[in-house]
Amino acid sequence: MRTKRHGSSALAGTFAALSICASWSRAQDAASATDLRRLSARYAQVGAVRLRLAMKDTAPNLGIERHLDVTQSGRFLAKDYYQPQARLADWLAVPHYFVHFDGHVMRIAQPPGGTYEERPAPPGLMGGPPGPIQWTYCPWPVIPKLVEWLEKAPDLHITVSREGEYSATSVQSMLALDWNNSGRIQRVAREEATGYVFAVSFGYAEGEAESLPRPISLHETIRSEPASRVKLESDHDYNVIAFDIAAAGSESDPAFDPVALKTNRFDPKTKDVFAPDGSKLYNEDSAMAAFDAAAGKGTWRPWLLGLIGAAAVLSVIASYRRLKRGA
């Protein structure tokens, strides 16, 4: 009897707990959809963000920085500075790699970034998720666009924890967005069903009272292990060394300046390389052939050089003999 009463009580308690959880869940789901739109409205006032990141805990003398300029329209300039041995004092003068996107054309450096090529933006890059991967580092200006795409996703799944941590995910869109009830973007990720993950999590200072959250640190996670791809298992922490916001309406698109970037345009069809003023510098195939010739690999020039040298020696000998006979 005692056991039965205890069991009945436990059952009632469990039911009550489940009811509370269900009502909590329903209330929170409704609140989540509202908060997703509220998040979008909050970041609609961000016109552009300039972000500078420095990788933490690198090997001695190793220097790695990522610089990103992203606008609300989705245009961006992403530059990576990479100094493997810190031999140069001005290693931040020329980026090792960069990608510039003006909404139509991508300008992509070939590391080391002495040359770049132009490519039309892939169809649909700006029309739907997940968007350019560079946004993942600097999502604040494009939060309204990401929210718009997530809201249209048929498999959008929004959850919220008791601590006020929100998460909106769509497998079809390959997008995941986490934020908290103070509006801080906690994590942006591109996730594929194949197991591929590219995620960036943001750290903030405690007690921050900014109208728009300013991150102080960033964690980058890359996972990729498909059979035919390169296996990637990379985790890196960065310090935010600069974070500047331009209000919506006051932003300007990141300019592409090949002179400042010290880079020349490579045409992949003709293999010609052009200086920023449009003049042709060289043809890659011809230049390689010239180097091969100079290195004496499989060309006729070394043999010709030998023959000419031999002829010169024989001429000297013959002349000497003639002179001797004449004397």
Binding site: Y82, V99, P122, I133, S228, Y282, G326
Partner: protein, 120 residues
Amino acid sequence: MRYTIILSVALTMLPLAVTAVVFARPGGAPPACWERKELNNSIQCDGSCTSYTVCPGRILCMPGSTNNYASPITYSIQPCHTYTGGTGACPACGGGVLVIPDVITTPGPIPVQSCSGGCP
């Protein structure tokens, strides 16, 4: 005697003149500045370009604007470049985020020229 000397000098100078003509560089003096350029690249990728790796076949100093010294060619194993989130279709992958530090190297030594110094 005089003709013999003239002929001897001519015979000696002729091969040198031929050499100068054969090995003359079109366009005059070589450029003052050089840029490190990776050439004969090979790419490892799948159809989506989600992750791909580009390995140089050789690294030479090409006309550019950064360095004023180009070293002789040596042979060594060099880093490849892995990208994630690229666009296009394999093997014409492009863009994406560069995975740094480099995680893959060339399978064997490749011809390498280093460029250093600084151009004005």
